[in-house]
Symmetry: C2
Subunit: 292 residues, 2 copies
Amino acid sequence: MALEKLSSNKAFEGELIKYKFKSTVLGGLDTQFNVFLPANASKGKVPVLFYLSGLTCTEDNAAQKGNFLGPAAKEGIAIVFPDTSPRGAGIEGETDSWDFGVGAGFYVDATNPKYAKHYNMLTHVTAELPKVIQEAGLPIDFARQSIFGHSMGGHGALTIYLNSLRSGAKQYRSCSAFAPISNPTNCPWGQKAFSGYLQGGVEEAKEQYDATELISKLGGKPAHILVDYGTGDNFYKAGQLLPENFLKAARDAGYDEVQVRVRSQEGYDHSYYFMSTFGADHIHFHANFLKA
Amino acid sequence: MALEKLSSNKAFEGELIKYKFKSTVLGGLDTQFNVFLPANASKGKVPVLFYLSGLTCTEDNAAQKGNFLGPAAKEGIAIVFPDTSPRGAGIEGETDSWDFGVGAGFYVDATNPKYAKHYNMLTHVTAELPKVIQEAGLPIDFARQSIFGHSMGGHGALTIYLNSLRSGAKQYRSCSAFAPISNPTNCPWGQKAFSGYLQGGVEEAKEQYDATELISKLGGKPAHILVDYGTGDNFYKAGQLLPENFLKAARDAGYDEVQVRVRSQEGYDHSYYFMSTFGADHIHFHANFLKA
């Protein structure tokens, strides 16, 4: 699983590097990711944020448009930007929809045999990427990880974080999300994805892949979560995001707004303009825990 | 020349709006531009920066990736993002090259009859856009304009600014550029563009469209110019930018580094990662003059 360096751009005194490697968990396909290393990484290992992107995106969109690199450079934090699905699996129909298949891996490990060989973005993000990055000797301290994401990637960040708390693994110190799909078993995007990727469909997803379901099952274990969504977001209005469901479940489970903060941002939409506005906020939120 | 609003995104408490209108100076073609209005524009007119983009870009690239909106919001400055050429003129060959024709208007008024009806980005940017924006009643104070740009747009910003000083019009208070084509009559990009757009070719361009030529002819009139370029920029290495020529001409003409500052940025390339790194710097530079 050797990393091949595809490109490098200096940014904010640090470096954004694009790598390619043959992914075992994605069924032997080539996959790409970007990693931003702040300048201080040349002097020792730095903490890391994993950023999970939304539907149709690649490893590039948020690196270019998220307004994350400047704040991360200031805080001395690395960011890893994975892709959003395997590419080139050649599974029938995988490129027919923009919200399923290629560009839409939903951060699950597929159990439906049709997808199980390739669509394993959960293990790719949580285990394989940290492993290959560590083996390549990049100056990242994986004892200090946090995770965030947008939309489908917000769903990924929340569920990965909550599962890691629930299991006691505590792989991540904090989690944040922009306009996350917060209760996917109750919205069309999630229902379509889970029906496709999981043998047990939506019912199977409730166990592991729904942030609103998961927060109820944590037994009050300490959590550090920040969520922003915009009231002008058409996907929010269409009932794809359902942040209120997540918020209610969190409060019902006893989490106060210090532990689980969900902010409604007046007039903002689903775009990178929204994310770039609050990007620095999110980086600073994570820095509190990553640098503690 | 009524403006049609195509979209609007809230960003940094302000608003990024995309407009379309039928442009007289571009031969009656539809053209688009983005304008960022900071939140304080709701309380009164704000100063404005014109941003001129580089080869192949549209009005969108820098709005999304330049890291300009946050700093402009903080300073209370509007930014206008024009397109880089007319689109849809239907002139033979205009889409054959990425560095000439569509996406590559070079901010000139064409004198070659083949292009003269449509390729008039100079007048479009300096006169037509301010006029239609003013007529539409947008809260912008055109007595406080400055101008900046990238690569081909850096050439545009410098030449437009220097010509405005030279003529005494002083339409702009300050000028800055990222990796500008600084001496286009001496580089392949400029020679190709001028040979195409101008009846008198490169010789005609020396009079009006070459920053290095122009700065020598100012007679020492006060100037406020900031230029950044990266030493890792492949176009710089290939001799397309020639910032040293501009710098030498400025010093020969008596400008010190307070009036004409040219910064060589170690290791940075030609990309938006470079621009986003120094975007806030440029906005703050202009704010000194726009808010004086």
